[in-house]
């Protein structure tokens, strides 16, 4: 009963978004650190890929009647859509050399930070809502 307490909310989805944005932050900051390295190609984690896989995972969980796996559990089923979402956090995207602009990296870091803070605020709000429902105190 307890893992499915969060299954019908957005909290697992938002957790995935948080993890992805933190992984992407590490990759982008690595780009900044290597701005003077010769022969370095900028790396990134693809946001469109992540969002597409997340959409598929959400739709799959709707089809299976809302019994989504808790993200802390390791998924062994190869068809599990959440596994696809996890793989987008580890496959690096290499840009060609014409894009090594410091300003562009900083802009990407700022956008990523915004996405992270948005997911965090919404998740905090959802958890507070659950808490208010459980404790019967507004």
């Amino acid at each position: 009963m307890l893992p499915n307490l969060f299954g019908s909310t957005n909290i697992p989805v938002l957790q995935e978004v948080l993890q992805f944005s933190q992984a992407r932050h590490a990759v982008l900051v690595g780009n900044l650190a290597n701005v003077n390295t010769p022969g370095y190609r900028t790396r990134d984690l693809s946001v469109e890929n992540f969002q597409a896989r997340l959409k598929e995972a959400i739709e799959a969980s709707h089809r299976s009647g809302g019994t989504s796996q808790s993200p802390g559990v390791l998924t062994t089923d190869p068809q599990d859509p959440l596994r696809e979402v996890r793989s987008t956090m580890t496959t690096l995207l290499y840009h060609d050399d014409t894009n090594i602009d410091l300003e562009k990296q900083v802009a990407e870091i700022t956008k990523n930070q915004y996405m992270h803070n948005l997911a965090l605020t919404v998740m905090t709000n959802q958890i507070q809502l659950l808490e208010s429902a459980i404790s019967e105190r507004v």
Binding site: D101, N117, V122
Partner: protein, 142 residues
Amino acid sequence: MMMTAFDISASALVAQRVRMDTISSNLANMSSMQRDANGEMKPYDARYVIFQTDDRISTPYGATGVKVAAVQTENVEPLYRWQPNHPYAIKEGPKKGYVAYPKVNMNAEFVDALVATRAYEANVGAMEITKSMSQQTLRILG
């Protein structure tokens, strides 16, 4: 939606930096020669950038970013100085004994550098405002 504003400001920062690069290059090479296609030495040509709107970074409501369309060289008459013993002096013709130097207008380049600096600062300010706006949006949820 707010994300495109970051990209637009970033494209402007990149464009202004390229402009600053060409201005620095012009100022640094005020007295230099370069080898042209025939292997002969000719004076350095001052370069300038051409900006253009970048349709790859745009919103449906018509906001677009900026890109550097081309870096072009100026075709002005070089400055001639009478130096008959210079290794690069012109050997024959009406300008025999003269050496051609690049004609870079230092004052115009400095003014351009100031304009580029102000534009860079303005775009950094715009980016900060966008960042602050997105952070304020999160306060809706308290």
